[in-house]
Symmetry: C2
Subunit: 436 residues, 2 copies
């Protein structure tokens, strides 16, 4: 007798039962189809890379979370996102790629995060990026929202908003009011959804900001309205600052393209509070929220960056992209009971043949499959009730019962598992029914 090891996965690693896996896989397929149909090319990089490569940029907060180890003489690490591998890929294969390089990548990444609900240590990211060679037209920033829109509409959501901003507007505004390094200020302002503004004003004052500066920041963060109204308000600031004006022009261009390509212009909203990290993004930034479930947080985020692969090549490679954290999205929709009915039954019909006509059951299986019916055959012994239960548990819509009577008349009894209704049909009729 073998020693028994307790069968369990590591904490923080998602693993689903087949019926749930089917839903997640269907969501993945919807995302992938949207990416592919918009002309993005798949890449599939190794999960393991040299630590030196994955940490070329320096890890920052992520560094502690990385799974790394030494095998032989090589320091290895598991990828913790899909962006660093993309940078390495584009630098390595530069001369074999056509630019703008539109790539998508759906794959698992690894972060040994502190355990908390809804955070996973292995999770799927679904990324698209468009990489230019030396330069990249703003059209691509404007194209991204329509791809997000198509994806989330196909995922069954209609009420969502893609919040868009431009980092140059933010940086330019702060510089224009005399704040050269706005990181610390932004960190405070970013808390405005959770903390009362008066409290944050106090924190800004502690940082050494003047009343006038705080007043300007308050006015700036209060700018809201339609996209057009926000643009007007920003122009009315009359800030004589180059980055600010460049950012404003860029955002106007990007929003104009986006509004033209979106099915519903209401899906995009300029939002000056969106900042997206502090050093990576340099222009357009996006965050997407499901209107009815804002608590979930952003379900698709990203932006424009100046230079994808500076740690691997001297080529200038600007790009723009967004990412969907699929595992987290699935988890949160599931927790909230918000999952749509994506998944079809794993087979169209279960064939149950009585022992005396088992051979005919096999012939029926072959006939069904030859006609494209997704049929499975119940071969093991057992009562009919047990076999029906098997079909039920799997969510199959039909059972085809074959006894001696049916075989004599070349028919089959088709049981609708939803209604319990049974009907005797010719094999051909049953095929039509099952394919219909």
């Amino acid at each position: 007798m073998a020693q028994i090891v307790k069968p369990s996965t590591l904490p923080g690693f998602m693993e689903l039962l087949p019926q749930d896996q089917r839903v997640l896989d269907q969501m993945k397929a919807i995302i992938e189809k949207n990416y592919r149909d918009k002309g993005f090319l798949a890449i599939d990089t190794p999960v393991l890379e040299r630590e030196e490569v994955l940490l070329a940029k320096g890890g920052g907060d992520t560094e502690k979370q990385i799974y790394r180890f030494t095998k032989g003489k090589t320091d290895l690490a598991m990828r913790f996102d899909l962006t660093v591998p993309l940078a390495r890929y584009v630098a390595e294969h530069y001369s074999h790629l056509s630019f703008p390089f539109r790539r998508y990548h759906i794959g698992k990444v690894y972060r040994g995060e502190r355990q908390q609900k809804g955070r996973f240590r292995e999770f799927y990211q679904c990324d698209i990026d468009i990489i230019g060679n030396g330069s990249l037209d703003l059209f691509h920033d404007g194209e991204i929202p329509s791809i997000i829109e198509g994806t989330f509409m196909d995922l069954g959501f209609d009420a969502f908003t893609i919040h868009i901003n431009n980092r140059k507007i933010l940086n330019g505004f702060y510089q224009a009011i005399g704040i050269e390094e706005p990181q610390n200020v932004l960190r405070i302002v970013d808390k405005q959804d959770k903390v009362a503004w008066e409290v944050l004003e106090g924190e800004l004052a502690e940082l050494g900001l003047s009343k006038e500066q705080i007043q300007s920041i308050t006015e700036f963060k209060n700018i809201s309205g339609t996209n057009g109204e926000i643009f007007e308000a920003l122009e009315a600031l009359s800030l004589d600052h180059e980055a600010f004006q460049t950012g404003l022009e860029e955002l106007k261009t990007v929003v104009a393209v986006a509004e033209m390509l979106l099915k519903d212009e209401g899906h995009i909203q300029v939002d000056l509070s969106i900042a997206r990290g502090l050093d990576y993004y340099t222009g357009t930034v996006y965050e997407t929220f499901l209107d009815d479930y804002p608590k979930i947080g952003s379900v698709c985020s990203g932006g424009r960056y100046e230079n994808l692969a500076e740690h691997y090549t001297k080529q200038s490679l600007p790009g723009v992209g967004v990412s969907i954290g699929l595992s987290r999205l699935y988890y949160q929709l599931n927790e909230g009971g918000l999952l749509k009915d994506y998944s079809s039954a794993p087979a169209d019909v279960l064939i149950v043949a009585f022992d005396a006509v088992r051979q005919e059951g096999l012939k029926l299986l072959k006939a069904y499959r030859d006609h494209g019916v997704r049929a499975i055959f119940y071969a093991d012994k057992g009562k009919v009730g047990k076999k029906f239960k098997y079909a039920d548990d799997l969510g199959l819509p039909y059972v085809a019962v074959l006894g001696e009577d049916e075989v004599k008349e070349g028919s089959v009894t088709l049981r609708n598992m939803t209604t319990g209704q049974e009907e005797r049909l010719s094999v051909e009729e049953s095929i039509s029914r099952l394919l219909g």
Copy 2:
């Protein structure tokens, strides 16, 4: 200026350019569709598990190759196949699964093998298994070959042979001639394709086998012919040995079911030389060879096992399954120039609009996409020739050119990138052409 790290993957890790990735992905999709359409359910287990779990069985030869490391206080390992995780999964989720449990799993596994051509340290396996609860009807062993057949036919191969045997026949035969532990003998006999039989007879003699035993083995290994002829020859041996007779009956049953379900009976061949490892498989065993490229070795192998999960549960869980080593298969087909033309273009058309009519170009992009045409827009500056080259490099079949003349008459010039022919069409006509 950032420090430059050489962008390169680890040796032995496959990474493909986008056009090659498309081929591999298409092969993966074909395999997955075949598995799904036969009613197999997907599972997706973590790449990382507790070392104790993955090595519950003991690693044998594989153990040295496993990527393992410690994080915090936990010994971790990367999965080296999909069978051990399946065993753990079924044991862990036993009470939530419906048996027979038909599962497929397509995923990457990791083995730090000694480097050699065509061997990868990260590679895709594509597995199907059917797991019974306590028992599993032989029908399932007979069903497997038709699934292999459908898969390889859809992959574009017609000339392949699924070699089938039963371990009980082998073990029974050797026991019947007085060899209780045939492992060492089988290891010698297995070399018959590479080493002259006379040499192997010498090795068998060195092992202490009698002339009569060697004579019997020679007769046994020379049994060949049609499936029916082999069955007759095996019966003619008149071995009074229970396991042998059980194995023979099982094989006859399995081959009868297989021949009934196969599109082409010629795709299955009883082959008494197939053994498939030494301790895992207990009944039916399969190996699949492409008739025209035998050097590639088996492209799909597997078999029946007595007890999937004995290291994790006391439940008896017999099963049968096969696996396709996709990365290796892709590599070998590619090396041999044997890859079929699986892949379609990554988009249907590239839109090239002159600056003055860029807005209309965007409208055309939206119109195309709304009608399901997979269109991309060339937004960056550059000469028309460069844009055509971009479409060519990506393998796109058409470029839609939009200038002022076209806009005036509501038309578009569609350039066929294969023939170089250009045609001016209405937008509607161009959509029909691109979808056709």
